[in-house]
Symmetry: C2
Subunit: 351 residues, 2 copies
């Protein structure tokens, strides 16, 4: 008779199911490494004392993985993570702001690859959402967490770390194709707060998203699909889970038409968008002009198109602001989605 | 051979250990009830898809339980929860703001009593911290959560609910006796934001506490013990985990000295303090004058005493504001602690 709750065979999710890979600190003879454990996310794994849960004290990233070109059975995972470097860089920046020790990027990549391999085995041909989470770990309870003795030169990995791989929700695609009715909602802070008050964690992707979720519920109660936050001094900031883009067609002296693509000012405390970064890199290569705000709501109304961009829903056009229809441009929407699909390194335009 | 990971005997924590009681929705013949499950909090119980964890999307309360008068072996739990009604009322208010369905107060009371009984069995004579948590529960994953079919008149209890009972940390008592060096930190929002922007969840006790924790880390990095948040328009708000009180001694016409006790304006978006409520009720009975702000930092400097009050650390005097020593009054500190110990119903003064 064994008491071990672990199955001997590696977990493979069924169609439509998810898989989780835990990154567990492991002190071996060569120092502290990270051991991967692939498991069923329907198996409880987190302690009620985990500070990610009790304090929203952690950071995350949400990436997508799509069919890799030339991949086939036997060639390893047939899925390729998009913008992985940008997401890992932003995860590290967020973790640094919260002072949460993080396993090296290579371990996150290994974990994502292991999760994608298991996911693809049960879901051939299905695109995936890949979520990376690092929490501060359990409160002091002895034996409660992943406490690893500090070694010379090795940071203590005292947090809880995992990668969740799930199928892309079909609802997001429908929302993107339908376009978004958006409410402008006051975020309560002024646009200078990020620079003077670092303890407010503006521009970091923490697990404390209750306000973002409440804003989306408020929008839904008003018949809207999404939200653009504004600062108390009237600047356009960001969506609760997306970055704002707007474009203007500008007549040139030679009679042609140029395009200017603008995103809000980053120093106003918004999260640097990984999708915005890669789109800007492609737009620059295509000869578009790039702008970085500041933007006011009237700029959005006067634009030729406004979009909310994010890693899973991609480029979704805004059709209404506060109940009023705004200009839309299907050609620009297609161009932006194509830019995003180029998967360029964002360089100076990214996080 | 059984695969059940549950022990047959009820869990009793050892000395210094904690116990958790889960409130699990249970559809029986009489409708949906709540079944209690007592367990070891070192056993993982939460899914990685729980929105309390992935979005800080949940609410909580922290109460204390102290020796009940006249209690002894065989008389049930020897511990009595302080201000239980105030905490349960505030939990309900927070859950309503976040639109999270909540089990009835009586079930929380049963769960707390069950946890305290188990805790006291392993920790005789030890005061306890009793934490109540309600999260929104797992994201859509089928089979992943406590999904209960809606019945006529019964709200769907789709969240995750538990009570954690732990020993009081000795560090808190030491901090209270030593007094607190406090930094004033900008909360980034103005004092009118709560009324105009309900989606910001000001004044609700959500699990999204990453900023509160970051502010405390920032204070520690500056050699301070705690924080008082101020609004962007210069009003005193609250501590990250406490309520601000200040007192002034006021000469009366008959030659005696009266005392005025003041707490910041509640409409400025602060959490209504359960300790503040019960202290105010006792202070009123003792003939003190009561005030409800607005307060500015200069009011704190000019006061005869400033305190941060909370349910576990109780009444802790502030000794320094931004590095400058401020007046302290040991007699007032003792009076306020005695007021709190009276455990009065806060009535109009509480949450």
């Amino acid at each position: 008779m064994t008491e071990s709750p672990q199955p001997a065979a590696p977990f493979v999710p069924g169609p439509g199911e998810s898989v989780v890979v835990y990154l567990e600190p492991d002190a071996g003879p060569a120092g502290v490494g990270v051991k991967l454990r692939v498991d069923d996310p329907r198996r409880p794994a987190i302690l009620v004392t985990d500070q990610g849960l009790t304090r929203g004290d952690g950071v995350f990233e949400t990436m997508t993985a799509v069919a890799a070109e030339g991949a086939g059975p036997g060639s390893g995972s047939p899925l390729r993570v998009r913008k992985e470097d940008s997401h890992l860089a932003r995860l590290a920046t967020s973790a640094q702001a919260l002072e949460i020790p993080l396993p090296p990027a290579a371990d996150w990549q290994r974990a994502a690859a292991a999760g994608l391999e298991a996911f693809a085995a049960g879901n051939p041909g299905v695109d995936a959402v890949v979520k990376l989470v690092a929490s501060r770990g359990p409160e002091g309870a002895p034996g409660g967490g992943h406490h690893v003795r500090a070694e010379a030169g090795v940071e203590r990995l005292t947090g809880t770390y995992w990668v969740l791989v799930s199928p892309v929700s079909p609802g997001l695609v429908a929302a993107r194709e339908r376009g978004l009715k958006v409410l402008l909602l006051d975020r309560g802070v002024d646009s200078g707060v990020a620079e003077r008050a670092p303890w407010l964690l503006m521009g970091t992707k923490s697990l404390s998203y209750a306000v973002n979720m409440a804003a989306l519920r408020y929008a839904a109660s008003q018949g809207a699909d999404d939200v653009i936050f504004t600062s108390s001094d009237g600047q356009v900031l960001e969506g609760p889970t997306s970055t704002v883009l707007m474009a203007r067609r500008i007549p040139q002296q030679d009679g042609s038409t140029g395009i200017e693509l603008v995103t809000p000012l980053r120093s106003s405390g918004i999260l640097p968008g990984t999708s915005q970064g890669t789109i800007f890199a492609a737009a620059q290569a295509a000869g578009w002009q790039l702008g970085y705000g500041p933007l006011e709501p009237s700029d959005l109304v006067d634009a030729d198109g406004v979009w909310l961009v994010s890693s899973v829903r991609l480029v979704a056009p805004v059709t209404h602001l506060d109940g009023e229809e705004i200009p839309q441009d299907a050609e620009l929407t297609e161009l932006l989605n194509n830019f995003l699909a180029e998967d360029r390194e964002p360089g100076e335009h990214g996080p």
